[in-house]
Symmetry: C2
Subunit: 186 residues, 2 copies
DNA sequence: ATATATTATTGGACGCAGTCTAATAATTAA
DNA sequence: TTAATTATTAGACTGCGTCCAATAATATAT
């Protein structure tokens, strides 16, 4: 593990994100330009795009980590001898979520509404989740493709709506598991 | 009903849409600029934005009409003495859909994938549908908000996945009702 | 006929996102 | 000291969406 060759990095995703969220608070997402974010963090616009492929990617950084954790949890389950039902795994994952580690983006998900690129990137996350669920169901159950896709889509939609409900509940929200189980059994 | 005052219109949504879809076929959605669409139809870029608030709005013109019809169908049902369950109304609406009147945008929904603004505008349609369903459920059933939202979201997701499955089935797809009912009862 | 009001179309400018390229800066290795 | 390597940067470009002022085409009033 030698010292890396070449000019060392000064910028980082974290530095840029910090500057961005501060600006988003004051001027909103649309009211904040990439130029301003980069300048606020002490870098140039070009550098911003060395770290994020778009303004929206920055927004989802923490949320993507959460989604990744969920995906790995499901993949681990698939490797088990007898993988449990999707809903059970989701509920267990949900029970480990604590109210104080909600990604900034999710806590401020209402920022989505006015910005096309945020809606699009949020939708891409939902679609990605849906693919993960569909894959899990395909491995663990047998049914025709259309019913399988419908179940995956339904699960995704319910999960998202439970998350939003949980966030909307504010600081007194309590445990997420309660919200998810309430939404899953209908 | 006198002749309208002022300079008469030459342009129309239909003319612009026709030109746009032709270009989309050849160069794709992203590869087609608003400038090109307007020029192809014989107008200027500025005129395009007199008729559509964005390139994506043009894409959804026919689909929006379909969604509107569904919404009106549900609103009519709400005014009935004894509105039926949401699923029943949807199935009846679905049975009236014929394979040869699928909006161009839906038939070519794969164009969505590469274009952020299309994804965003598509997601907005889904969110709008979801609101309609949530409203319907709120009027016709009694349950807590979170379960209600979850059911609406689930219905929306299932409807969308059924539509996509139906379209993917190609010309031999047959009746949509079959797809929807297969997706709804899971 | 001519002038006026009204509406449609247009050109041109702007700011911002995202892409690209070439230049420069900071470091390690030779 | 020089070369190789990587980070940062400036600057140009295209396209979207917004805006405004200019012009064109029509109806109506005088």
């Amino acid at each position: 593990m030698r010292a890396p060759v070449g000019r060392p990095r000064r910028a980082s995703r974290e530095l840029l994100q910090e500057a961005a969220f501060e600006l988003f608070q004051h001027r909103g997402y649309r009211g904040t330009s990439v130029e301003q974010i980069a300048k606020m963090a002490g870098f140039s616009r070009a550098t911003f795009f060395n770290f994020f492929s778009s303004k929206a990617e920055l927004f989802w950084l923490e949320t993507d980590a959460l989604i990744l954790a969920l995906r790995e949890c499901l993949e681990g389950e698939l490797k088990a001898d007898n993988p449990r039902a999707l809903h059970r795994v989701l509920l267990e994952f949900a029970s480990k979520l604590s109210s104080d580690q909600i990604p900034w983006a999710l806590q401020n998900y209402r920022l989505l509404e006015a910005a096309d690129d945020l809606i699009a990137s949020g939708a891409s996350r939902a679609i990605g989740l849906n693919r993960v669920f569909a894959h899990y169901l395909a491995q663990t159950t047998q049914s025709d493709l259309i019913a399988l896709n419908a179940r995956a889509a339904s699960t995704t939609a319910i999960l998202v709506s439970a998350v939003l409900g949980w966030i909307d509940a504010g600081v007194t929200r309590g445990d997420f598991g309660k919200y998810l189980s309430g939404a899953l059994i209908h």
